[in-house]
């Protein structure tokens, strides 16, 4: 949670934004820009009927699956590339290729090759995220402390113990950075995946509302998701970061 002083400032700036929105909406007075009160009533209605919560849950499940897949593969490859010079030379051009491959291309290809199925959707999102994780974690793995590495060798600390007590703690700033940027990137790509080839989830709903020109619902769904991401940040990532950094002076 941000400290109280920051909280007040955030609240005030948020209220100003809402005020401007309300003003703009009352001047425009059209379906293209509904005011905050209209969006709020749509949001409450959607939550009451359970519809928003259902699509939110579906999207969150896809985000979670792609996130876990991308992080575990990305971290493993990143550590390996940071430690093994030969592997790094070999995989570097692959990495450049995948980093610059447009998300849309991956999604289309996954759907074409595997069909319009759940696994194709999750895989497409993960493939988009993995190169970013690799690049960040590789930097961390390159900077691993040689002195501690020698200490581990002398005291025969191996495998899991080394990973848990020596390597991962050193990588934690890099891991947190890729978790943060990862969540933001992944949920945006998940919406595109849903828009193109799924029949539920927020992305699918947005495409329906787009066809019906229902801006109030588009805004209501976006706000619901932003709130969820903010809650993950406040109650998940910030406390985790504080725990991980307890040892620092």
């Amino acid at each position: 949670m941000p400290p109280p002083a920051n909280l007040w400032w955030s609240l005030i700036s948020l209220l100003v934004l809402l005020g401007l929105w309300h003003l703009g909406a009352s001047f425009a007075d059209s379906r293209v820009l509904p005011g905050p009160l209209v969006v709020l009533s749509v949001l409450i209605e959607g939550i009451g009927s359970g519809e928003i919560l259902y699509h939110l849950a579906v999207t969150l499940a896809r985000v979670a699956a792609s996130f876990v897949l991308a992080m575990s593969i990305g971290v493993a490859v990143g550590i390996a590339m940071g430690r093994l010079l030969g592997l790094n030379r070999f995989l570097d051009s692959w990495l450049i290729f995948f980093l610059n491959l447009p998300a849309l291309v991956t999604i289309i290809l996954c759907y074409v090759w595997f069909g319009l199925i759940e696994i194709a959707a999750v895989l497409a999102v993960a493939i988009n995220k993995i190169p970013n994780v690799v690049v960040t974690v590789r930097e961390g793995a390159r900077a691993l402390d040689r002195d501690l590495d020698e200490m581990c060798r002398v005291y025969r600390l191996n495998g899991m113990a080394r990973l848990r007590h020596v390597i991962l703690p050193q990588l934690s700033p890099y891991l947190l950075a890729s978790v943060r940027s990862g969540l933001a990137l992944i949920w945006k790509i998940v919406l595109v995946v849903e828009l193109l080839g799924r029949s539920n989830g927020i992305g699918f709903q947005l495409s329906v509302f787009f066809q019906m020109f229902d801006v109030a619902n588009i805004l209501a769904y976006s706000i619901a998701f932003i709130v969820v991401v903010q809650i993950i940040e406040w109650f998940g990532l910030r406390p985790l970061e504080i725990t991980l950094n307890r040892w620092r002076r």
Binding site: R153, Y155, L157, A161, H165, R248, R249
Partner: protein, 241 residues
Amino acid sequence: MSSLQVNLRGKTFPGVAQAPPHHALASIKLTITHGQFACITGPSGCGKTTLLNVLAGLDHDYDGEIHLPLISEHQQPVIGYVFQAPRLLPWRTVEQNLTLIKDRSASTADVGELLSLTGLTDFCHAYPERLSTGMQRRLALARAFVVEPDLLLLDEPFASLDEPTAARLRLLLLSIWRRHSTTVIFVTHDLREAIQLGQRIIRLTGAPGKVDLDMPIPLNPAERLDTQVIEAWRTRILQPG
């Protein structure tokens, strides 16, 4: 148990960028019998740490042979190494720094006892970066003891400590050495410290490092605490010829 045999023909660090290759160690032949306490002295840059790293198995890129004291036919000795810098895990508490090393060895050492011997009991839940340098050094020493090493390597472990603390830790080192019949190789540039601790002094000159003096120090525990005796030995060692 067999003795530690060093038969080095040389050790060279390859040149990096503009720096030429560095010939760190010349030919060094040493036999250190099991349970001996040997002190290695010499000016900085004469290859003392390089020699320890070779013995610890951290550096395999040398010319020659090293035979570590074998416990049994196929069992390598347990090594404890007190590095020049403490090299602790800053994200683990004082106690965890000991237990997670101990849990991976066959040691039966008592972590609580080692903490109290090194005066760290009250800080067992603290993180190393919040400790003073002296306390970090004591923890590094406790970590080397916690594996109950067959071969204990120490690289200027008491440098930058105040004299009373250093004196107390020297006694602790001696008492643990007597109890465990460990082979100890103690690197220091302080000749008084070497005379006080070692059964044998090996002086290196360099670079490249080679043995320039190898002398037994046949003193009993009482004499080792006597500053006059130590001064007399020091004069004798420093005298040319």
